[in-house]
Each structure stands twice: as C-alpha cells, then as structure tokens.
C-alpha cells in the first residue's frame, strides 16, 4: 500500500509537536510523528521542535541527521528496502540487489528519475531464516529469488 502524506503545514506541524512535547526525551518521538504525517521532516520543523523542547536548533538538527531513518526530502512514491546484511548476503542477496539496481536503473540509496521508487539498503529485518528479505512500503517479503525480486520491482514501478 502506497502511503499518502499531507503537504507540509506549519499549523499542523505545531499540533503534532505539541501533542508529544510533554514526553520524556521527546525528540525522536516528534521526528517520527512528523515524518509519519509529511513523509519527511521539513526544514522549518527543526526550529519549531527546538523551541517546543527548549533545545538549540543545532541540537535538534544533530539528532535529525544522526539517524538513518529521518528524511530531509520526501522519498519516491514507493520505498523498496533490500536487506544488505550478512544473513542475506549468505543467501545470495548481493546478486539480487544488483539485479534490482539494474532493473530500476538506480543504485541503492537513490530514487528513480520518475520519482516512483526509492531503493534503499536496510541492515537486517530479522527475517534471517527466510533470507534474502526485503520490505516494500512496510510490507515484508522473504525467500527472495530472481522471480520474486522482479515481481517486487515491477510492483513498485506501477
């Protein structure tokens, strides 16, 4: 299922921040909530979080940039994450990752020119006994082979 995100809106952003600001150590919770609503964490949200939590902008920016999950910009319409860790490597994941790159015409980490698919690495989905594995827009898929990866790529391109 493709996620539909709201366009950035400062009032809505402020509401989301206010909803979680009372929590202990709220920064990550707020960043997750903003990304969940808008598909990324828009730049103007950073000083808003800082002011709500009585932190400096630099501190919030530092947290935002430390974690791989948080996006500066929206991803493509579909996000295909391929596990690149050892258990999936042992099960032939490297060749399948190369195949997905070739089919999509992008390298891992990039988004297709038509903005349909973002191809990302992920380091372990915990599906190591049914490797290689992947996640398409939050749906997990295991026991990948050439046919299955082709089907996943085709689904993402639709």
């Amino acid at each position: 299922m493709m996620r539909v995100y709201e366009p950035w809106n400062a009032t809505r952003g402020a509401e989301i921040i206010a909803e979680h600001a009372h929590l202990e150590g709220a920064t990550l919770v707020i960043l997750h909530a903003l990304q969940d609503a808008f598909g990324h964490v828009p730049e103007p949200a950073i000083p808003m979080i800082a002011s709500a939590l009585n932190l400096s902008r630099a501190e919030v920016h530092g947290v935002f940039t430390f974690y791989h999950d948080f996006r500066r910009e929206p991803a493509g319409r579909h996000v295909l994450k391929l596990c690149r860790a050892e258990a999936c490597q042992a099960a032939g994941g490297d060749a399948l990752a190369a195949r997905a790159e070739a089919r999509l015409g992008v390298v891992i980490g990039d988004t297709t020119a038509d903005n349909r698919v973002t191809l990302e690495p992920i380091y372990c989905l915990g599906l190591c006994a049914t490797a290689p594995s992947a996640m398409l827009d939050g749906r997990v898929v295991g026991r990948l082979d050439e046919a299955r990866i082709d089907a996943l790529v085709a689904e993402a391109q639709r």
Binding site: A26, V29, V63, D69, A87, A90, T130, G142
Partner: protein
C-alpha cells in the same frame, strides 16, 4: 465446536505468505460452510516450514507446512476429513526439530495468541510476578542470582548483580529499560518473542521493577520491527487494562508502567549507553563507563537495562524455576540459549537449547547444512561483530567462555551459515564498511579506523603489497580493539581478524613467497 486453526502472524511467516494463507483458509471455509476460528499466533520458529499452520485435535495440535494460499482449500478438506496430505507434518510437538529443544523462554511462542492476556495467564503467565510480589526485593534478587542468568544481549554480565546494584542505589526515580534494538544480522529471537509472547517480556520487566523499586519502564524497539512494535503496544494496553501495569499492580503498593519507544535506524543504539542517549532524545553517542547505567542511567537515574531475552527468562525463574534454570548449561553459562540459525541454511529457525551443544551439531545436525547444498565453509556467530569460524572449529561448545577462548563470541546467539562460494576478504571488507556506516563517531579508532580498514582491504583484494597491507589491517584492528569505548569499534576486528586467520587464502598470495624472494 468450530475448528480451531492456528496461523502465525510473525513477520517471518508473513514475509513468506502467512496472511495469504489465512485469507485463503477463511474463503475456503466459507465456501464449504465449515465453521473455523483462525487464531493468529507467533511462530514456532521452524522457518523452513513457514507458513506452517496448526489445527487443534484431541491428540494435540497437528501441523501442516509450508503452505501457500493455493494449498489452503485442499488442506482444509484434509483437516475436516482427518486424511493424509503431503504437507501434513503430524503432531507439532513431535516434530523432531522441535522435540529435541528445551523450550523455557520460548515455551509459549507460536502456541498462544499474543493479543490475549487470558491465553497467557492460562499457560502459567503472571505466576512469576505473583510470586515475586509475595517474595519482595531481596528474595527476587536471590532467585535471579541463583539462576545464573547472564545478559542475553551478548555481553553476558550476570543479571542478578546488575539488578542488585540498582536496588542498592537510592534515588527518587529508577527505570527499567528493555533493549529491543536487535540489529545483529542473523538474530531474530527478540523479534519472535515480542511478536509471539509479548506478555513474558512485560512480566519480566515488571518483576525487575518490583525487585529494584522502579516506577517506569521503556522498551526501545528498532524501527525495522514494525510488527513487534504493534504487538508490544497491544500487549501493554491489555496488561494495563488487566491491572498488571499502572497504579498498584495486583492490589499491592507497587506501581509500574511501560512505554514503547521506536529507534530510527542506528545500529549503534543497540549498545546500552547509546540506547539511553537515544531514549533521552539525543544522538546515539556512546557514553564512557563509569558511571554504570545501574548508578546513573536513563536521565541520570539508576537503571536496569537488559536485553529482551534476559527479561523473558525471568518469569520462569521467579515461578520457582531458579534451580531448574541453573541446572541447564555448562561452566559459567547457565540456563538455555535461544539460538538462531540463519543465512544459507537448510533448516533455519529458532533453536532453544541448554548451553553446551557444539557449533558442528548446531550447523550440520540441527541446521542440516546449507540450503544451496554446497559445503559449509564459514559461519559467523554473534552478529556483524562476531568472528567467522571455519569447520576446523566446529567442536567449539556454545558457551560464552569457550567462544572467547577461540577469539570469538556468542553474542546474541545468531549463527549465519555461508557455503563455499563465499569470498572471505569481501566479508572482512563488509565488516569494516558496516562499522564505518554505523559508527557513532565518538572514538577515533572506530570512526576513522573503519574507513581506513575498507581502503586497506581493497588494496589487498587488488593484490597491492598484500603482506604489508595485511600487517596494516592487523595493526588497525589492534588499535580499534583496544582504543574504542564500545563493542562496535572494539569488536569489528573479530570478523576481520578471524577471516584473515582462518581463510588467509582469500586474501591473495601467502607471505612466504616474499621471504623467498629476498
């Protein structure tokens, strides 16, 4: 009475089609006018048989697998007629792979409905907490110490000592933190237990809270585990509703509540001090120890921080099982370990057994060798920071000290199997590359050493002054091992050095030729 059919909702089963199977079973049943109840459970951990369904019979549950949606109608007919089918596996508990296990921590996983606290209570659930509430702090600590339980996250620190330290530290607030940032490739036991038996984790944390006098707990789950996040959140709500979390637990003076926090894709946050920083809303930068988290942990308060499996082992121990638990195992490794067999393996899954089985038994006998059918060449034990072992070391017993004696570690109990097509210099390079990607940046040896490591291994792979560059890698590993604050920089040398030591032929020509040329 309706037919009761159990279909896993475990992410590993869902990833290979369990949802489709559940849907197809429902459709087939309604078409035939058969009344069935589908109960979504965790996984039994026999992943090569997933999606594996079970049906309740007077003789016990009977399993079928691996199913696809297309098999569902035929299997339902066989279930109704009690007839034979190629996918019929017999009584689940009698499947040899399951039968030879010692399921203590995973006794309920795959059996119960993880959304039902009634189901949990009907199978010994909350007996440990009830006894703990009667015992009080000192006796709980004595039981945990007597069980010999050591931290299952990988470090193997005695849990009883950790808890006692927190109990003896006075403060206005104390915390219980569950480390569910299971980032090691080849490990999935935390995910399975959170999805399949979440109440056992909650109960273990609650007992810890009673033992040390903590009022609040956090479960820090990695974002790569959305199914586990949902399962834990649902279980916390159910436990709160039933009076097992919140004010005055079970009518006593103890109050304790829990909250799930979700990580954001940083491997280093599995390191306990980095996790605490992240929970506080900061960058996941490792803290220097001391102070220990037991003295100054979350928000500077005394904190018990343990792995999911450590907490999940506690209810059995407190139910009166401390001695029974300690009777399992070997040497200083007491109890059972949920071992995870993964990668290129024929029978992959969750195998809980007392410490002491050899690596060879686990890989060849239990795991059945590789899925590809090619010879096993190397296994990595303990995640991305664990050593690669060749077949020559397959007599190593699964035990903290035995692995350490052979320059390895059991870590969180994951075993990743590789066949003879593996290029070990490439695996060594990946270890350094992964460290470079995931380093928090605090320590220079880890932050810069990992990048220099990738570059130097690239030179070796290209045949550039192989012997000199191997010496550079060895020196670098030595610096990282002794110059890093945490296990990320400190243990990345394990896979690198073990690959060099045991699989030297993958790193270019042997150095003896250079000597001969002089």
């Amino acid at each position: 009475m309706n037919l009761r059919i159990f279909v896993p909702r475990d992410a590993g089963a869902v990833a290979v089609g369990a949802d489709e199977v559940a849907l197809a079973l429902e459709q087939a049943a309604s078409k035939r006018g058969v009344s069935i109840d589908i109960i979504r459970t965790g996984s039994r951990g026999l992943y090569w048989l997933e999606p594996m369904i079970e049906v309740a019979t007077p003789q016990g549950r009977v399993a079928f697998g691996p199913l696809t949606g297309a098999d569902a109608a035929a299997v339902l007919d066989v279930i109704v007629a009690d007839g034979p089918h190629p996918l019929r596996l017999g009584i689940t508990e009698q499947i040899p792979w399951l039968k030879r296990q010692t399921r203590v921590t995973f006794a309920r996983c795959g059996v119960v409905d993880p959304r039902s606290i009634e189901d949990y209570r009907a199978r010994q659930g909350y007996k440990g907490l009830e006894r703990a509430l009667e015992l009080g702090s000192d006796a709980i600590l004595a039981d945990v110490t007597a069980s010999g339980l050591r931290g299952r996250g990988g470090a193997g620190f005695p849990t009883g000592i950790k808890w006692k330290t927190v109990a003896q530290t006075s403060a206005d607030r104390k915390y219980i933190v569950c480390n569910a940032d299971e980032g090691d490739s080849g490990t999935f036991a935390d995910r399975m237990i959170m999805e399949g038996d979440p109440f056992v984790v909650i109960e273990g944390m609650t007992i810890a809270a009673v033992a040390v006098g903590a009022g609040k707990g956090y479960i820090y789950i990695r974002s790569e585990y959305p199914h586990a996040v949902d399962a834990m959140n649902a279980a916390i709500l159910a436990a709160r509703r039933a009076g097992y979390l919140g004010e005055r637990i079970g009518g006593t003076s103890h109050s304790f509540d829990l909250e799930v926090r979700v990580g954001a894709g940083a491997y280093v946050c599995g390191e306990e001090t980095s996790l605490l920083e992240s929970l506080e809303g900061r960058r996941g930068i490792v803290r220097a120890k001391p102070p220990l988290p037991a003295h100054k942990g979350l928000f500077g308060k005394p904190t018990v921080i343990n792995n999911v499996l450590s907490f999940a082992a506690i209810p059995f121990i407190l139910e009166g099982g401390a001695k029974a638990y300690a009777d399992f195992g070997m040497g200083r490794s007491r109890g059972t370990m949920p071992i995870q067999l993964a990668g290129n393996i024929r029978y992959g899954g969750l195998f809980e057994a007392p410490f002491g089985m050899t690596l060879g038994e686990l890989v060849d006998d239990v795991g059945g060798g590789t899925l590809s059918g090619r010879p096993v060449r190397a296994v990595q034990v303990g995640g991305p920071l664990g050593a690669y072992f060749p077949r020559a070391l397959f007599d190593t017993p699964f035990d903290y000290e035995a692995f350490a004696a052979r320059d390895g570690l059991i870590g969180h109990g994951g075993i990743v199997v590789f066949d003879d097509s593996v290029d070990m210099s490439r695996q060594a390079r990946f270890a350094m590359e992964f460290c470079a990607i995931e380093s928090c940046g605090k320590c220079t040896p880890c932050r810069i050493g990992s990048t220099r490591g990738v570059e130097t291994i690239d030179k070796i792979r290209a045949g550039d002054r192989v012997a000199e560059n191997i010496a550079v890698v060895e020196d670098l590993c030595n610096t990282m091992k002794f110059g890093s604050l945490c296990a990320l920089g400190g243990f990345t040398p394990y896979p690198v050095i073990s690959a060099l030591k045991h699989f030297r032929e993958d790193f270019g020509p042997a150095p003896t030729r250079l000597e001969a040329a002089e």
